[in-house]
Symmetry: C2
Subunit: 299 residues, 2 copies
């Protein structure tokens, strides 16, 4: 396997362990984050510290970014009032992989601007959480041209297990929010169906088994039952300790509602789920696992 010079910008809960896995895979990884303590942790594991983002980008075969929101990604690459963007220093030999989960429109703006300069770009949002980032078992959903996807694939494989090609630039973000909007619908719908069964005298385990073997079958019933004590390994049976936090699902549903608005899409079920997750945040459950939506329905 080819060892690469990789720049990595953004060493948060996800980015930190992702960069560490690239070091373990033998790549030369130059990292940057505004928080010096996370940089120190990575250098203790064998990464090099960049003095700034531009140093990470210069001479990199691959530059990876993992940032909170679209505005951060736009200002990193395209610049703002205070800083030049990396677009000024990036070489045409560098492949840019943005792993942030952001709005599709920002991904397209950044990706197309780089593309016009001859710099290859893919958006590659992840799922799998901190546990998946640490274990190197993340799922990446990638948007970008076929050759850029193939190059990205070889690097993403050092951090993840399932890598999908969703389409052109921005398609990774779109596919991820479509999936996560649907997941929120599955979780809310499964929760209210189980609770209605309980309210009518059914055993939630028996009802869950019947629906899993019938046309109600879905990922939450199979792997992540939201009713406490139905599935021993699920967050619901561990006081809704995450897992995947309510706050993160609410963020993804916000991105879904933006995409729906921008594309004039009708999303009644997703809108309802967004409202329910916002209610759950207001009840102080933002740090609970997203299956805690079950509590909205229980008596």
């Amino acid at each position: 396997m080819t060892k690469l010079n990789i720049g990595f910008i953004g060493l948060g809960n996800m980015g930190g362990p992702m960069a560490a896995n690239l070091v373990k895979a033998g790549h030369t990884v130059t990292v940057f984050d505004l928080n010096q303590s996370v940089v120190s942790e990575l250098t203790s594991q064998g990464a090099k510290a960049g003095v700034d983002a531009a140093q990470c980008a210069t001479n990199a075969d691959v530059l990876i970014s993992m940032l909170p929101a679209g505005k951060h990604v736009k200002s990193l690459y395209l610049g703002n009032n205070d800083n030049n963007g990396l677009i000024e220093v990036l070489s045409k030999n560098t492949l840019v992989i943005d792993c942030s989960t952001i709005d599709a429109e920002s991904a397209r703006v950044v990706g197309n601007a780089l593309d016009e300069q001859g710099i290859r770009f893919v958006d590659a949002p992840v799922s799998g959480g901190v546990a998946g980032a640490t274990a190197g078992t993340l799922t990446f959903i990638v948007g970008g041209e076929q050759t850029a996807f193939e190059k990205a694939n070889t690097v993403l494989a050092d951090m993840g297990k399932n890598i999908f090609h969703a389409g052109d630039i921005g398609a990774g973000q779109v596919a991820k929010i479509c999936n996560n909007m649907l997941l929120s619908i599955l979780m809310a719908g499964t929760s209210e169906a189980i609770q209605m069964g309980i309210n009518n005298g059914l055993d939630p385990k028996v009802l869950s088994d019947i629906m899993t073997a019938s046309s109600g079958r879905n990922w939450t019933l199979e792997l992540y039952n939201p009713c406490p004590d139905v599935m021993e390994t699920a967050p619901a049976s561990n006081n809704y300790k995450p897992g995947f936090m309510v706050d993160l699902m609410a963020k993804d549903l916000g991105l879904a509602m933006e995409a729906a608005q921008q594309s004039n899409s009708s999303t009644p079920m997703g809108s309802m789920a967004k409202n329910l997750y916002t209610m759950l945040q207001h009840q102080g459950a933002g740090s609970d696992d997203f299956s805690a939506i079950f509590k909205l329905f229980s008596k």
Copy 2:
């Protein structure tokens, strides 16, 4: 296998082929329906014609009913102003199996009234449609005591493939509507997620594959994709020819809303799905397959 005397009341689209499969299995089947032509069709296949419902019930080891709504089941067994109910003629040796899909409350009223007379009763609503009824591959979800369930099981196995025991009398109806409410949520949610992907430039087949391999996975993505030409065998690729009709899903959602009301259950996703299926009926799509809800979202 024991050959039984079976009475069968209600020979509609589902009841007709179900009774025919009992004849094929070697049982002595005495049938009744207000429509003489469906009775004739069954007698041509080897059933005996009862002169009335009471004759079907008398001396039967097992009496099966398959009727449209709770009011029909209640008047059949408990009587009304014009007729005595079968409760007057049923023997304690007869097991009553009501296969109708009705409200759980009516099932409990009838079942408990029979039970007080020492007559065993199970509610056993079916899924699988006319095709499943004809092929003998129906799913039955059964409510009733364990010994009654075991006796019913031997007969239901001649008409179906999957037989679940959901709990006490009425639990079969509850579990079925919980499942079908959840199914309607899966179908509506999957439809709007795929359409939002299309509106943002994604290929519906690629997006469906990604979500099927991710946390959006559900029965509709696996077996019944609602977007035309994604899945060759799905009704969506055959002009939404049913399958399972919009009108029947709307009926089941009406039963779900009744159960939610009676049990003071909160069902925001199911309520939204009920409203969407009612809109679809108003647009003249009542006889389409229920996956036609996709059309509400398409541009």
